[in-house]
């Protein structure tokens, strides 16, 4: 078996075959866990980084300080990286024309003039406008 740089692994005296290599790989290369951070209860969990750990419980322990020590945190998730199913970068062309589809964005619709006209005709107060004016006068 090829010597490891880690004497603790050499002391395991692993067999000179594929099994030995697999055991060594598992010992030398811990799994990675994707960390998701939630700032406040009810907020979405947002992916924030990766930690190495031997199991999910230790991953949470590591994630708490690696990604929670400098900001407000309500909750953390850790997910084994290998449990994530990802799209392929070579298929990124499926997203190619998305930016053109502005009709999927609310800002693409001009309707405020029609809403204001309707409000005026029916004597409906524009509460948003009132609030804005009040704020200005304060």
């Amino acid at each position: 078996m090829k010597k490891s740089i880690d004497p603790r692994i050499n002391r395991l005296d692993l067999p000179e075959n594929k099994d030995g290599k697999e055991i060594l790989h598992a010992l030398e290369e811990w799994e990675t866990y994707e960390v998701f951070h939630q700032k406040k209860r009810g907020d979405q969990h947002i992916h924030t980084g990766i930690v190495h750990a031997a199991n999910p419980e230790l991953a949470l322990i590591m994630a708490k300080e690696a990604f929670g020590r400098r900001r407000q945190t309500a909750n953390l998730w850790v997910v084994r990286s290998k449990d994530v199913t990802a799209s392929l970068y070579e298929d990124a062309d499926i997203f190619l024309t998305t930016p053109e589809k502005t009709y999927r964005e609310a800002s693409d619709y001009y309707c405020m003039d029609r809403i204001r006209k309707y409000q005026q005709e029916h004597g409906i107060k524009d509460r948003k406008e009132d609030r804005r004016k009040k704020k200005e006068s304060d």
Binding site: L12, H52, A53
Partner: protein
């Protein structure tokens, strides 16, 4: 509440031993910074070290309001004989198994002590205990998870954790050395006593040690290492204090 001078001295001694334990174990744990077994653990263990030093600072600040010197002077200029820390906290970091096991045994005692103190009639202490409840909970989560992992991972890790437990257990029993003020503190409703704390601690660590496939030393072999609470220390404390206070003593009046 008004305390007599005698009572006040008993309270101060009690505060000193709690804070000194935290400062010294915090400093020891900080010696792992940059040397941790992996970067994530390096960060976590260093944060825990900082937390403990921060908690001791808070207690030294309470002592300052009771007429003692300011926190930095208390922390950095006292000779070893004026420290009341337990021997457990003084020992060099050894290998990671030793440091983890020491932290595990210490954290449970600290967590239970703070739970008891949250009911204390001495309000600054009760408030402090409530404030740091979550911080200390994370410390026990950290050490419980590691003890469980390494106790069960393989023969080598189990053997090393068992050896670390055997080495640290009697030292940890030294945490509960009585000061002679137990009755008085109990009467004042400040603290219910070291013997009660030790009983609760045994209840808390025993199932976790078992679950980690480790064996708690048999009661007939329990030999608590006392002395720390009376100012008698190991040879390791003085070099630690010299190093810890080195920069402060260059110019005690410097603003940080």
């Amino acid at each position: 509440m008004n305390y007599s001078d005698k009572q006040l001295n008993e309270i101060k001694e009690f505060l000193y031993k709690i804070a000194d334990d935290q400062l010294i174990i915090g400093h020891r744990n900080s010696e792992w910074t940059g040397l941790g077994p992996l970067v994530e653990e390096d960060i976590a263990f260093s944060s825990i070290a900082q937390d403990k030093i921060g908690q001791s600072q808070h207690i030294y600040e309470i002592l300052h309001t009771l007429g003692e010197a300011d926190a930095d002077t208390i922390a950095f200029t006292r000779p070893a004989a004026e420290f009341n820390c337990s021997h457990l906290t003084e020992y060099p970091i050894g290998e990671y198994d030793f440091s983890l096991m020491r932290n595990f045994l210490f954290n449970h005692a600290e967590q239970i002590r703070f739970e008891m103190l949250s009911e204390s009639s001495f309000e600054p202490l009760a408030n402090l205990a409530k404030k740091y409840r979550g911080e200390i909970k994370y410390h026990t989560m950290h050490s419980d998870t590691w003890i469980n992992q390494l106790g069960r991972a393989n023969d080598e890790s189990n053997t090393r954790m068992q050896k670390a437990l055997n080495e640290t257990f009697n030292l940890a029993l030294g945490i509960f050395e009585e000061s002679g003020n137990e009755e008085s503190l109990k009467k004042m409703n400040i603290f219910a006593g070291e013997n009660i704390l030790q009983e609760k601690w045994i209840e808390s660590v025993t199932p976790r040690i078992k679950a980690a496939n480790l064996i708690l030393p048999d009661k007939s072999n329990w030999k608590p290492v006392y002395g720390g609470r009376k100012g008698n220390h190991t040879e390791y404390l003085e070099p630690l204090l010299n190093e810890m206070g080195e920069v402060f003593r260059l110019d005690p009046r410097a603003e940080w």
